[in-house]
Symmetry: C2
Subunit: 324 residues, 2 copies
């Protein structure tokens, strides 16, 4: 079994070695740029760990792992245009540094590059890997579309929210793991269990994100604590709070949701106080834990020695107990 | 051999039968919309004709033919955002009818749909077909990027222009034909000759477009005659005119190229007169003919009975002698 640090090093080296044509520069430079500004490379690491779980050749699985990372960064490049985001991981976004047309077209070229990388997979699993990748691609687009629609709606249910984050975030983790399992020679049952592990872990991961955005330690959390509250983002916490709010809390919440001008710190403090009064943090943690349990149960059922699963279990533990 | 009309009917029926999920509507409706507003379906027809040329199963080649058509319409959806175009084939463009974010995301989903369709190809040619499709995808993005850069440049050479239209337009025709040839069971040499036929035909096709934009019959031409002149578009005609212009013509051309306000009809008339004086129409027709000749020569070399090639030859004749 390969050490996690080693796997991450393998990915980092492979990302750095990725090279694209010099011409036209405005098509390919933004791809190198967005890939160079980092991120945690969680998704390709999951693919390699999945391959490793079944004793597969980890080095041979690097190209499909890169396909997942390039795909993920393609979605970030296009999402940033749609969200009009000035920064990504503390750096200027592509559409700001160049312009929106460059970001549209480089993103398109990047999606094609992801397919090229995926294609380097062994012939025996080319078709199933492509089927998974295509399904995942559609799901991520659906999730982003539904997320954008939520901004215009005020009656989003928890069920709808959970399905949105499943599509937008969790399916990609499941897909990375299942392709890794295929590359490792897993049978269909084990590969599908690993998909479930990834999907459930992905939902738990996003719920943890929602919690950290409100309750994270400002010293450790990478972004502004309370960002979701300031932006009225419909997270699990807000939707649950609206569901549980009595007349008084509802009026208070509505006041803040409708306020056009407000003191940022005051809004964050007031909404957090409403959450506290309704016990939202605890409920969110329980919801997250329920998905985590489903993930661990799926992992449990996979038929390989328990010892080999230690790495993925440890990875999930860290992901769900992180502070940023 | 299947009649061209029959092939087109086959495509039209298949396009009409394409169905996408109902939810989320704003992701999939724009895809159905852009596919429904028509176009000549030349590219998928070429794929089917190529398959037919080698006696392949034309019906089995419909999904990859649709992949080419869906890909082509994906590029139109994104190009229209970049060009800020209000109309496409006389109908409101997707980014105008919905909004740019919808057009970005639906386009992305459409590219994934194209891959799903392509994947329905037989296992024995899955990898080579995907390699061709990926190369084509990169080339089309490169061509669009170079075309956008040309707008900011005033020293574009004919060579650069021809390479841009090769990437942006012609490679897709070559790719459609080569995938069709693979689906028809052609050997590598014949498949590559058919690619060359398509690529050269594509360049000739675009040069014909440039000529028609200036010299087309206003009664028959679908768009406004002189549109390229009005927009200072760097076509073969303008680049050649700038190359051949003496001092007097150069001053006159520069005057019109730099004019911020002008009478549209007057500009078209004046620039056309300069072209006429320099014999540009004839030169463009000769350049087009040279590429057409290369295309026909490649077709000639393909080792199937001459009779079977009649359909593609006839198709090319019509394409290059069209009036709109």
């Amino acid at each position: 079994m390969t050490d996690l640090k080693e796997l991450q090093l393998l990915i980092e080296e492979a990302v750095n070695k990725l090279s694209f044509p010099n011409h036209p520069a405005e098509l390919y430079e933004p791809i190198s740029y967005i890939l160079s500004i980092g991120g945690k490379r969680l998704r390709p690491a999951l693919l390699l760990m999945a391959c490793d779980l079944f004793g597969g050749d980890v080095k041979a699985a690097v190209p499909p792992a890169l396909a997942i990372e390039v795909f993920h960064n393609f979605t970030l490049m296009h999402d940033d245009i749609m969200d009009n985001a000035p920064l990504r991981r503390g750096k200027t976004t592509v559409h700001e540094r160049w312009n929106p047309n460059v970001a549209i077209l480089s993103g398109d070229a990047m999606l094609v590059e992801a397919y090229k990388l995926l294609m380097q997979i062994d012939n025996s699993i080319l078709r199933p890997a492509l089927i998974l990748f295509n399904q995942m691609g559609s799901a991520v687009c659906e999730g982003q579309q539904i997320d954008m629609q939520f901004e215009q709606r005020d009656n989003v249910s928890l069920e709808e929210y959970l399905d949105m984050i499943r599509l937008k975030t969790a399916v990609l983790l499941g897909c990375a793991l299942e392709i890794g399992a295929l590359a490792g020679g897993a049978n269909k049952a084990n590969a599908e269990l690993l998909y479930t592990f990834g999907e459930r872990l992905g939902i738990a991961f996003q719920l943890q994100d929602d919690i950290l955005d409100v309750y994270g330690d400002p010293e450790k959390f990478g972004k502004q604590v309370g960002g979701d509250i300031i932006a009225n983002k419909k997270t699990w916490l807000l939707i649950k709070a609206l569901e549980l709010a009595g007349e008084r809390e509802r009026a208070e919440l509505d006041k803040w949701l409708l306020a056009k001008t407000f003191d940022v710190a005051e809004k964050v403090k007031a909404v957090t106080a409403i959450y506290d009064g309704l016990g939202i943090r605890q409920l969110a943690a329980e919801a997250m834990q329920a998905f985590a349990t489903e993930a661990y149960q799926a992992l449990e059922q996979i038929k390989v020695e328990t010892e080999r699963k230690q790495q993925l279990r440890y990875f999930a533990d860290n992901l769900l107990n992180r502070e940023k």
